[in-house]
Subunit: 509 residues, 2 copies
């Protein structure tokens, strides 16, 4: 929750943050936005809200996913005048925008005169022009330097993102120079508390820029001045009279005896001052403000039937048995885009079987908001699990239950364990070992201190590794496999999605 | 008037302008602001208004000048929500601000959250810090590079001004580089139509930057992107989808046969497009929109008694005759700041006489708003007039009548000619030659085409030169000699002002 988030990031030098609460909003609807706006007030950290533009991430008419709520232009309009709101959050539904969806256009018009954030991975040429014409001038989804350069050339403010799973800093940092540092910013996105504690938050990207030989003035401008200026926060982002006394003292890791600094070695945070007051991590941890308390959300988080091995049957077209071509989601480590693969898989009794030896595992999404029992199962390559399963209710953006595993029985067990927990993350191993993280607020958030969450995450990761997982960040990687606005193959409760076509496709290739 | 202003600047590539109508407001009060806001609408040029913060330029309590109107915080507050208004105009009354004048602070608070422009020539150190703390983050009054650097370091957006009289570009342009070009802008200020037609408007500063060896990208960014960004006009200042199609095509003046451009030679305007439509100067001249018509201001502009030679008597303290030390305003060509000089002047009958042979002439300001007959007379060095006089009703910022000349009779004649004209500029020569420019709107503006005004200005200047005037821009130089917020010696209808002390001082030194 925001009051615990500040505990994680303020000591790392993030003194202002701007967030899009579309995760809790996908689960709880406008009550999620109301909670987010309230929970952002009264903190030591300055926390601003962008109003979620895409709940769910795709046009409801497209029928690509089932979310907890569906918000139209009329639902979100009333939030624009709240003093903590800076504008409209990432417009992920770029196909809807390009197609002239009236509700998408209404949202953009309702927030005109305010910042309207973008999200347009891979968009280029005239499609990207149309996006800019619609008034969207930012994007944090560039994955190649050429993509970032085209966006910048077209007046799109490039946010260089370093999440736990989507790591774009090293690829994109070469775009940073004396000119661009005024219009390029650093940002996080799905960065887990363990990574923040160990590698840092925005300071992590500053260090990556320095390691790569970037000039400190460029890196620090992209970390402070540029985002402040672009979001119209003109009382911060610089050290000057009339600006907030938000000050981060840095300690170079290496300098010669003569006082010359070797910036390539990076910097450590010496101390942080927020509005002139030194940030004390221990004091922050003691703050149990109203905002840190759980929201008044009623009902349980997970509303889905008990799972069994039969839940994960994947029908194959054609004959009852024999190998057949299947569409398989190809995970790319450190990226949230996926490869659209085709693999030969065994078929028995008219159903595809997994091929764990070749690292092709079953993956399923189960609807959890409305108790419909809706579900879809397909295949994924890249997890490497043997004798293990992972299930979570963090599952972009509709946050249904997603599970991947070696064996239908184990997958069912993982889902049922998550169900008993009412949301969070579960890792199971054959033989009964398990690790869990409970996320009681919408199945997404917790009031637990970030340090405790980091400990849990380490245990979860250790067990995942013990059962063969090859991914550095298995949980967020898994949670992005359901986001049908990021290319190419994804899975929702409605089925396997080919994002390049924006439609459900059959597992049989 | 704005509709004629666009005729002058649009063909020079200025596609958006932001103005402070404090001149007409000093004469006509809030009716002046109402007129300015209305006259800024419906033009081809995008024209935004900053609401005058200092009418008159100094705190009325200081009693330094008599303006046509005195506007307090309550008078101007209502203009903040007009869609054509971007914020509060230049806070010239920095002594009032530093002294905690409640009305000054109320104005700044009423416009919080909007741009609040500065004007703080020579302010530095802790005084400059206080100015920034009050929320003012721009200034167009730097005259030295060190001053501009200190301001920039303190988060003050530096506007490099090139007026007809105050010419700061050559001095300040070295501040421009790849970093600062995001937060340094070019601007004009009291630039007459002749200079705009011949040397250009903002394009003139671009060319000065190029002549000095500046990079075109730095100069063009300070001419377009930086001012747009700083004033929150995020739909312009760059060529990109979703930005206004305001395009200026430039033609380099020199390039080698191989196509390599020698930027030092400068650029010419090839063509200008405003909102996608090519600007046609001849078409603009035909536009006689409602905004081009005169305002509904009633009454005559000049309300002052007939002048005579006796009007210009300057009493000297001490004996009835013999040379005596007098304070003299020292004009600095191309600057609006003046030197505080002391000169020995002859005294006869208890009054100082001018010393035209040493270029020490009489200068007087006569109250023209309320018919009080208030006036003050003192001495100025630097005009060089012999057998001539200049009078004008453009006279910053209270716009009383100001006159300088060689001989009390000739000065009286010039004032009376201006009075018959009801405002404008008059140059008289012994023997009866005269040139005039009529400014029927408040004694400040005209509906005449800029080209006609330029012709008149050339004739006025030629006659001024013929009677010995050494100044390149005698009229605007003269008009700034009454502005008691620019150091050091100035003259108002109340007397000789020492701006460094912010008080009226005796002519006798």
């Amino acid at each position: 929750v925001p009051a615990r988030f500040q505990e994680a990031v303020l000591p790392r030098g993030t003194t202002t943050a701007i967030w899009d609460p579309h995760e809790i909003t996908n689960v709880k609807g406008t009550a999620g936005i109301e909670w987010a706006v309230g929970a952002s007030e009264g903190l030591s950290l300055d926390l601003f809200v962008m109003v979620p533009s895409c709940v769910p991430s795709t046009s409801p008419a497209a029928g690509l996913e089932t979310s907890g709520a569906t918000l139209g232009a009329e639902d979100i309009k009333r939030f624009r005048d709240h003093p903590g709101v800076l504008g409209l959050a990432e417009m992920m539904n770029f196909p809807g925008l390009l197609g002239g969806d009236p509700d998408v256009l209404a949202k953009l018009m309702d927030f005109s005169g305010m910042k309207r954030d973008g999200h347009c991975p891979g968009l280029s040429g005239k499609d990207l022009n149309a996006y800019g014409v619609a008034g969207i001038h930012s994007c944090h989804e560039s994955t190649t330097l050429a993509e970032a350069r085209e966006k910048l050339t077209k007046g799109i403010h490039v946010l260089i993102r370093e999440g736990s799973c989507a790591r774009n800093a090293e690829t994109l940092l070469p775009i940073l120079d004396a000119y661009t540092s005024a219009v390029v910013s650093f940002c996080s996105d799905d960065r887990n508390p363990a990574d923040i504690a160990e590698a840092g938050h925005i300071d992590c990207i500053v260090n990556k820029a320095l390691h790569a030989g970037g000039r400190p003035e460029d890196a620090l401008r992209a970390a402070s001045y540029a985002p402040s200026a672009v979001y119209g926060l003109d009382d911060r982002g610089a050290l000057a009279p009339g600006y907030l006394a938000d000050v981060v003292l840095l300690k170079p890791r290496s300098h010669t005896g003569s006082g010359v600094v070797d910036w390539r070695a990076g910097v450590d945070i010496h101390s942080v001052y927020k509005r002139g007051k030194r940030v004390d991590a221990a004091e922050l941890a003691k703050v149990k403000s109203a905002a840190a308390k759980g929201p008044a959300f009623s009902g349980k988080n997970l509303n889905l039937p008990e799972a069994s091995a039969a839940t994960f049957r994947v029908a194959a077209t054609g004959g009852a048995s024999g190998p057949r071509k299947a569409r398989v989601i190809g995970v790319i480590p450190g990226q949230i885009v996926t490869n659209p693969l085709t693999r030969d898989l065994p078929v028995e009794g008219g159903a595809f079987l997994a091929n764990p030896a070749a690292d092709v595992l079953k993956i399923a999404v189960l609807e959890r908001h409305h108790g419909t029992g809706g579900k879809a199962c397909a295949f994924v390559e890249g997890f490497g699990l043997r004798g293990g399963a992972i299930a979570t209710s963090i599952n972009h953006d509709s946050h249904n239950v997603i599970v991947v595993g070696d064996g239908d029985e184990l997958m069912a067990k993982a889902v049922n364990r998550l169900r008993a927990l009412d949301g969070g993350i579960v890792v199971l191993a054959e033989g009964g070992r398990e690790e869990t993280l409970s996320l009681p607020i919408g199945g997404l958030m917790t009031e637990a201190p970030p340090a405790d969450v980091a400990v849990r995450l380490h245990k979860l990761k250790a067990l995942a590794r013990a059962v063969g997982c090859k991914l550095e960040e298995p949980f967020l990687t898994l949670s992005f496999l359901a986001l049908p606005v990021i290319p190419t193959f994804k899975i929702t409760d409605k089925g396997l999605v080919d994002v390049s076509q924006f439609k459900i496709v059959d597992v049989s290739a």
